[in-house]
Each structure stands twice: as C-alpha cells, then as structure tokens.
C-alpha cells in the first residue's frame, strides 16, 4: 500500500532551464526553491509538494491557483514554517528564503518575529481559523502585544481600529467569533493579519466560503490595502476571476509543482499548459455564448500515488511518450511566461 519507493530518478533528472534559473535568482522578497514536503499518514506517504519554485517581489501580488489537493495550503504553511513536525517531512534541499534569510535556519525567536510580524496569513476557513473561546479583540490584540509590545489596553484599542478598517464596528472587539457571520469572521482574520503591516500577506482562499456580495467587499478591501501599504500578496484561490481582478502574476500548481507561471493577463489570455487550458475551458462563463464545458478528463491527482513523469499526463490529451517518463521543466515561452510542458505552445 505504501508507495515509498518513489522514482528517485525522476527527481535527479529534473533540470531547471536557464531562464527559470535566472528568474529564480532575481531579486525577490520571498523565494521558494525546490520545496518538497511529504506527509506520512497511516494510509500512505502523501507527496504534497514535489519541488515548488516560487518567487514574490516586493509589492507584487501573486496568484496561486490549482485544484484541490494541489498543495497550495501546504506551500503557504511552509513559508511560515508552520507544518507540524510530527507528520510533515520537509525534504533536504528545500529552501524558503524570506528577505534574504532562510526560514528553515531561523531560530524560534526569529520565526516568531517573522510570523505575524513580517509575514501574516489569512486562513482558508473563516469558521475554524478563529478560536471560539476568545474574543476577537483578544485574537487581534495578541499579535500586537507580541510584535509591537503593546499593553493590553492599547492592543485592544488598536484592535478596535483595525476592525473599523475592515468594516466592522470597533465596539465589537468584546464579541466572540460565534457572534459573527462567516464574512465578518474572515474580515476579523484579515484585520489580525494586517495588524503589524506585514511585508507579505498570504491569503489562503480568503473568499471561498463567502457569498458573492461579501466576497466583493473583501476583495475591495484587499485591493485598497495593497495600494495603500504596498504589501506583497500571495493570493491562493480556485477562482480565476479573483486572480484576474487582483493579481499581477499568476502561478498554476498541479500535484505539488508549479506548472505555469507568468503575468496573470498572459496566462489567462493564452494558457499554455493543458491543465490551465482545461481549467479555463471547464469554467462556465458569465457572458458570451454558452459552450458545452470541456471537462478535464480523469480524476484529481492523488498525492499519495503520483504517476511517473509529468503528473498530469494521465489526464492530458496531448500526452506523448516523453511525458510518461520525464518531468518537464519550466520553459520560457516569452514575456516572462513559463510553462512546465514538453508540448508547450502547441495548440
């Protein structure tokens, strides 16, 4: 059952193209290279991340899309070095460098200043990301107390201001999360994430659980903040619409790997990877004529049982022999647009 004898060869073979290498060596706030994370569960070894390369420049917003289980949340948690040590195994060779310093080399203390201070995160599920037994004031205030050494009173006061900023009455700091709706809770999470003016804000599907009108409010809010404080943003989502409205760069993830990267406009307008193409084709659109949706065939990639070669090949219409044995590297297709596909460009 356990698939521990993974094809080591595939890893070794994997060579980065020069352009990608250059891109990865360029100046950036956050650089993730070769991030590999495996989860050991009872059932199987889950290869959640298989060499993720990612970079975010200062003030830039990067969208990260991918189907469920692709490893988006795992990537985000890795950046804060928050994966549970007892179940998550970060492989040797993985590196995450924030502002010139590797998060894996940081001491506990440095990590604590990183977390919530320089990098903060909005969690995927607003219903579970707030502790139900503490007031929202306390939960926003704790960041301030830790990072800005505020006393209780000031922290609470500031928490109130932050709440106002995200559109909730400041007097509600004494309320408990259960007294808020999902959208408000997500805004509380955002308020806490913004408390210390982070250099990088990681937003893990901040609107998935929300209604359209509320989602619009939150997107509005984030856009405003980004222009105001010049915060870098890692926006994780399923929703290409959000990316198109909010992000400059876009990275598409499949089975624990980045398979396409480029400016959001480029990628959405002319997707190169068959998965990205499939994704766009599978989305019903809000305008124009209605075509039959082109569903991506096959099943969602199973991280515990990844195929050799390109992980997408069993579902790919353009699959060739090479795809079944070798991992494609990120190839430049022009204009800072990269794609990990041997048949890139062939339409």
């Amino acid at each position: 059952m356990e698939n521990q004898t993974a094809p080591v060869s595939a890893q070794d073979e994997f060579v980065k193209t020069r352009e990608w290498q250059e891109l990865m060596e360029s100046d950036a706030l956050l650089k993730v290279t070769d991030l590999q994370v495996h989860f050991q569960t009872e059932r199987a070894l889950i290869k959640a991340l298989n060499g993720v390369d990612l970079l975010i420049r200062k003030g830039e917003s990067l969208g990260l899309v991918g189907e469920t289980g692709a490893g988006k949340t795992t990537t985000a948690l890795s950046i804060l070095n928050l994966l549970r040590r007892d179940i998550a195994d970060t492989k040797d060779g993985s590196s995450i460098v924030f502002d010139g310093k590797s998060v894996f080399d940081m001491s506990e203390k440095e990590l604590r200043t990183l977390r919530g201070g320089k990098v903060s995160m909005v969690f995927q599920n607003p219903l579970t990301a707030l502790n139900p037994v503490f007031t929202v004031g306390e939960q926003i205030g704790m960041v301030l107390r830790v990072h800005q050494k505020m006393n209780d009173k000031d922290a609470l006061k500031r928490a109130g201001e932050l709440l106002e900023m995200v559109g909730i009455a400041g007097s509600r700091i004494k309320d408990y999360p259960s007294q808020f709706s999902g959208g408000m809770r997500q805004r509380v999470g955002i308020a806490a994430a913004l408390a210390c003016n982070p250099q990088l804000l990681i937003a893990d599907e901040p609107t998935t659980a929300l209604d359209v009108t509320i989602q619009a409010q939150i997107l509005e809010l984030m856009r405003g903040l980004q222009t105001k404080y010049d915060t870098s943003l890692l926006m994780i989502t399923h929703n290409l619409g959000i990316i198109s409205e909010l992000c400059q760069q876009l990275a598409v993830m499949y089975a624990g790997r980045i398979i396409e990267y480029g400016s959001a406009k480029d990628v959405l307008a002319s997707p190169r990877h068959p998965y990205t193409q499939g994704l766009l084709g599978a989305l019903p659109s809000l305008e124009g004529p209605r075509h039959r949706l082109t569903a991506i065939p096959g099943v969602i990639a199973d991280a515990s049982n990844l195929p050799d070669g390109c992980a997408f090949h069993p579902r790919c219409a353009q699959c060739c022999e090479e795809c079944k044995t070798r991992q494609p590297s990120m190839m430049h297709v022009g204009n800072g647009h990269f794609v990990a596909c041997f048949n890139h460009g062939k339409e």
Binding site: Q40, E42, L83, D86, I87, A88, F104, D105
Partner: protein
Amino acid sequence: MDKKLVFRRLRRNPFFLTGFICAVVIVLAVVFVPMLLHWDPIRQSLADRFMAPQGFSEGFKGHILGTDQLGRDVLMRLLIGGRSSLIIALIAVVLQNVIGVVLGIVTGYFGGAVDSVVMRICDVFLAIPAMLVAIAVIAVIGASIFNLILVMTLTMWVYLCKVIRNDVRIYKNKEFVSASRVFGGSDFHIMFKQIFPNITTNLLIIGSQSFGTVLLMEAALGFLNLGIQPPAPSWGNMINVGRGYLTTYPWLAIAPGIALMLTILAFNFLGDGLRDVFDPKRQSFFSKKKNRRKPWKIRQPL
C-alpha cells in the same frame, strides 16, 4: 471505515493488543481452568485455613494461591468469582446496550415529546449517582446475580442512551437520512437500517468500556456486602473478607484485587484501543507515526 486500515491500526496498537490478549486469556481461564481443578469453591475445610500460596507453605496441597479463612482454595474461588463477575458484566452490558440503543435511537430520531420524557427520566437517573441507586435498590430487592444485573442495567443505560441519542441527532440531519426519506423510507428503516450501522463502532467502544465500569461497580457492591452473597465467591466479597487479614494473610485481598485490576485493565485497554482505532479525530498515543526530524534542521545542499 476502511477495514484494512482498521486491522492495521488494531495490529499496531499495543494497548489494544495487550487488552485483547489479556481479555481472551482471562475469559478462557475463567471458563476452562475450574474444570481442571478439583476444589469446591464453597466447601470449606477448617483444618486447611490460611495456607499460603504455592512455594511459601510447607505441606503444599495443591492450593496454588493458598487457602482462605475457611480453608477454601483461593484460585478456585477467584476463577468461579470471575465467572459470575464476567457473566454479570456481560449480560448487564448487553442489556444496557439494548435499552440504551433502542431508547437512544428512538428519542434521538423522533425528538419532541418522546425525547423530553426519556431525557427527563435520564435526568432523574443522573441526579443520583449510580452507586447510591445500586445500594438502595439492592438493599431493597436483595442481592442475587439476577438482581445485580438488573441494577447495573437500570443504573447505566442512561449514559449510553444519552450518547446514542446525541449521535443519532447528528446523523438524522445528515443528507443520507434525508435521501432515505425522500424515497419514502419508513422511520423504522431509517432508524435501524440507515442510522444504526453508523453507531455500531461507538457501541463497541462504549460497550467494552462499560464492561470495566460494571466490574468495578460489582466489586464495590460486593465490598459493601451487597454483591453476590457468600459463600458464593465474587471478587468484591473476597476483597472485603481479605482486608481483615491484610497483615497476616495478605494474599486473600491481594489476589482478587489483582485479578480485578487485570480484568478491568484488559477491558479498558481494549476499549481505549478500539476508540483510538475507530475515532480518527481522537489523538491516540499510537495512531501517528513519529517523525523525529525537525524541518528547520536541514542540511543545506552542497
């Protein structure tokens, strides 16, 4: 739940394994060993009083665990006492389960008046500790195996009923129940064919744990002279008698005490193991493989 996974977890859970093996050994011993021994558990022989366990006494007459204050073989009494304890526990647990499950399912499923009535009854039962009820009731109806079973059933179905009811209240709002309903499934069909299979693991766990509770309660009642009546042995009344001879003939109290402890331990281990195995949300000691490497202490690539 994945059967293979369950078996693997069972195999890997030392608590469960220990409990299971011990429980099997105890049950087998209690059932079969008395057939091999020729002692009469009730027949006393005053001349052979207080013989120490084998190895300690001179003139060993085959009393492996020695004899008691009336010259009866302690091992034999232990095993026979164990028989009645286990029978009481077994029947009481089964009855508790039947009552608890039926009432729990019915109240949880229908809610409303039935629910309020049964829950108020539960409240009344819960308002007096089981032990006190047992003392009062046994004093009233007298101690016999049948009455003990009755009392244990009477006092403990409540807990099960509440658990099952809460379980059912969760399940009845699941969409698969609605699905049965939109096909016109009868209440009986839904309660016992759709919902019931989902609570069986819980039953198994609670059942094996209440086994221990029943044994403890039986011992406590025996200790208060409200258990199985002498001269028939029970672990409770053996401890009760034995404590009078603690300084002089300590095995009289220690032997039943240890037997009781091992048995309950076995069933507690078993129950705990089952819970670990079936309840993935519960954080068991053995359910997760450890990974000692700290992610941030990683060799840098050369």
